[in-house]
């Protein structure tokens, strides 16, 4: 197990470096001089040159990258152009809100997806299976930013049951676990949960259906094992793959919630990102994407290790 862990870590390191290179290059593929975003229009040549050397933009790209990554490792992601506050500080307070949303969405999505998928796989090719499959494909196909708007129309505008924006009565204030705050969490997290419900249900359905048609299930029944115990074996066989799908989905929820956060004005990383895009705040853009991508990478690592921990077949391969 330990050797496997080390092997995975060694494999993740180059990926993480690659990710940081892409994030670094984002600012440089942007059309125009990165300076134009920071400098006033009437800046003189000397002022521009001074700023250029202050930001290290006069050095060759690899050197700039080395300086940037050296700072990033120590938690210094530069300063936001729009607010002047450190990017790291902005990103981490936003990521907290995104995590809250992503975890709540997973808590809603995973049990429903697993249950639906299992039932459909168990009753394969029956009317129940078709019904679940139809629901799942609808869930996968829905553009969730539109679904969010529809939910707002129905539950906020027409029925007036739930608030449509922000993460609390004060808009984007401190989160608290009370009724007033939880009301704000319902619509965005349910919206966010729809796609993973569909994906998990589809995967688990195929998985469980395949396992039930395997020889070992027949063998277990043949030797007289009770139905409930056979189910236990099937679940144990399906668990590693189901776990990895859910882990990946959690990562997607965090990195992919930008559209939903925009719809609901949820003060998370996606909302931060769309503000950064709107204001062309490149350091903030770069920092947010780096943090989200690295989170996704570590999520994948955790999933792989957890999968190996519960599935003895993986370590050997």
């Amino acid at each position: 197990m330990f050797a496997y862990l080390i092997r995975r870590l060694v494999y993740v390191l180059p990926v993480a470096i690659g990710v940081s290179i892409i994030c670094f290059l984002l600012v440089h593929i942007a059309p125009g001089d990165p300076l134009t975003a920071i400098m006033p229009v009437d800046a003189t040549q000397e002022e521009q040159a001074a700023m250029r050397s202050a930001y290290g933009l006069d050095k060759p790209l690899p050197v700039q990258y080395a300086i940037w990554i050296g700072k990033a490792v120590t938690g210094d992601l530069g300063k936001s152009i729009a607010t002047g506050r450190p990017v790291a500080q902005e990103v981490f307070s936003a990521v907290k809100n995104s995590l809250l949303l992503a975890f709540t969405a997973s808590v809603i999505a995973f049990p429903i997806g697993l249950l639906l998928g299992f039932i459909a796989g168990y009753y394969r090719d029956t009317i129940i299976d078709r019904l679940v499959t139809a629901c799942a494909i609808t869930g996968v196909s829905v553009p969730n930013y539109w679904l969010g708007i529809v939910f707002v129309i129905v539950f906020s505008v027409q029925l007036g049951w739930l608030p449509s924006m922000g993460a609390g009565p004060g808009g984007s204030g401190q989160w608290a676990w009370d009724y007033a705050h939880i009301r704000h969490l319902i619509l965005p997290s349910v919206t966010l949960a729809v796609v993973p419900i569909g994906i998990v249900a589809r995967t688990v359905r195929a998985l469980v259906g395949d396992i039930f048609s395997m020889d070992f299930v027949q063998a277990l029944y043949a030797k007289g094992m009770r139905h409930g115990d056979v189910l236990r074996h099937v679940i144990r066989n399906a668990a590693p793959t189901a776990l990895s799908v859910m882990g990946l989905q959690l990562g997607y929820l965090l990195g992919g919630s930008i559209l939903i956060e925009t719809v609901f004005n949820w003060p998370g990383s996606g909302f931060l990102l769309s503000n950064a895009i709107f204001q062309r705040d490149l350091p903030l853009l770069q920092g947010t994407i780096l943090v989200l991508a690295l989170f996704f990478v570590s999520m994948n690592l955790i999933v792989d290790v957890a999968q190996a921990a519960i599935d003895p077949r993986i370590k050997r391969s």
Binding site: P14, V15, A16, G18, V19, I21, I22, C23, L26, V27, I29, A30, P31, I137, T138, V140, S141, V142, P143, Y145, W146, L147, I149, V150, V152, I153, V157, Q158, A206, G251, Y252, L254, G255, G256, I258, L259, T262, L273, S274, A276, I277, F278, L285, I289, L292, A293, F296, V297, N300
Partner: protein, 295 residues
């Protein structure tokens, strides 16, 4: 010489056995859901292409007095948007950009990704390492995030959306192509072809492509719905198509302010994205089972 050629021409023509694709077509046409979805998608594409000849109102013509008229308003079958422009015309014209930006990246990524995957899978060694490790790096980004990151760095615009979405879909296609190629490559008949002196290019062209293209193609069709949702999503965020062009994602965004006045008009563009994406997914599923491709 001529004598031999003549006998070959005269000899009894062998009746061609029904091919693989005939079987696929036969199975596909027996799937009512897949056929219905194909018809809907084809109709949407045709409507988008021939939009100027459908006798619709001008999708750009704004009218201050006709703003946000409800569905069924005389002269405007699907009402009007926040600037008084005809919704029906804008939805049909909107399909042009949404379908274009939603489908073209998958086609481009299909060619580039398959090529990369075929080369990586067939050549192996350090070439494989180079290509596949680069692909891994792009896999480290959730697709939404990668599309948004590249688009926002490049700036708004149709071409930039095409570029960023193509980049997003190359890695997954390359990975599927690589694993399909690698598994075909280890089969005996490839060894036999190599032993008889076939060059790498010939073997790939004659023996490998036919066996791997099917699964890659089915996989690519399953990406079209995601691509369309992402393309419209980019416009929704303001980093895709620029106003005043009609585009479903952009329309959804500009109509958000109207949800208090005429909510169902505001929901219409998203409805179009949803229907198209659902049809594309069902079409892909139908194709998958007709072609008998396993995941």
């Amino acid at each position: 010489m001529t004598a031999i050629a003549d006998t070959a021409e005269v000899s009894e023509p062998v009746r061609k056995a029904p091919g693989y694709w005939a079987g696929v077509l036969k199975r596909f046409s027996k799937d009512p859901v897949a056929v219905t979805c194909t018809v809907i998608v084809v109709l949407l594409i045709l409507a988008a292409i021939f939009a100027p000849y459908l006798g619709l109102n001008d999708p750009y013509k704004a009218s201050m007095i006709n703003r946000l008229k409800p569905i069924g308003y005389p002269g405007f079958p699907l009402g009007t948007d926040e600037q008084g422009r005809d919704m029906l015309a804008r939805l049909i014209y909107g399909g042009r950009l949404t379908l274009f930006v939603g489908l073209v990246p998958v086609v481009l990524a299909f060619f580039i990704g398959s090529t990369l995957g075929l080369v990586a899978g067939y050549v192996g060694g350090w070439v494989n390492t180079m290509i596949m490790r680069t692909v891994d790096v792009f896999f480290a980004f959730p697709s939404v995030l990668l599309a948004i990151a590249i688009s926002s760095a490049l700036g708004a615009g149709i071409v930039n959306s095409l570029v960023s979405l193509t980049i997003v879909f190359i890695p997954p296609i390359a990975r599927v192509a690589e694993s399909a190629t690698a598994s075909v490559r280890s089969l005996d008949y490839i060894d036999a072809a190599r032993a008889t002196g076939g060059s790498a290019l010939t073997i790939i062209r004659v023996h490998v492509i036919g066996n791997v293209l099917g699964p890659i193609f089915v996989y690519a069709t399953s990406l079209t719905s995601v691509c369309m949702i992402l393309a419209a999503g980019l416009s929704f965020l303001g980093i895709g198509v620029r106003p005043p062009e009609p585009e479903w994602g952009l329309m959804l965004n500009t109509l958000r302010t109207a949800i208090y006045i005429n909510p169902w008009i505001a929901a219409l563009p998203g409805m179009m994205i949803f229907i198209t994406s659902l049809c594309l997914n069902l079409l892909s599923d139908g194709l998958r089972s007709a072609m008998n491709v396993k995941d």
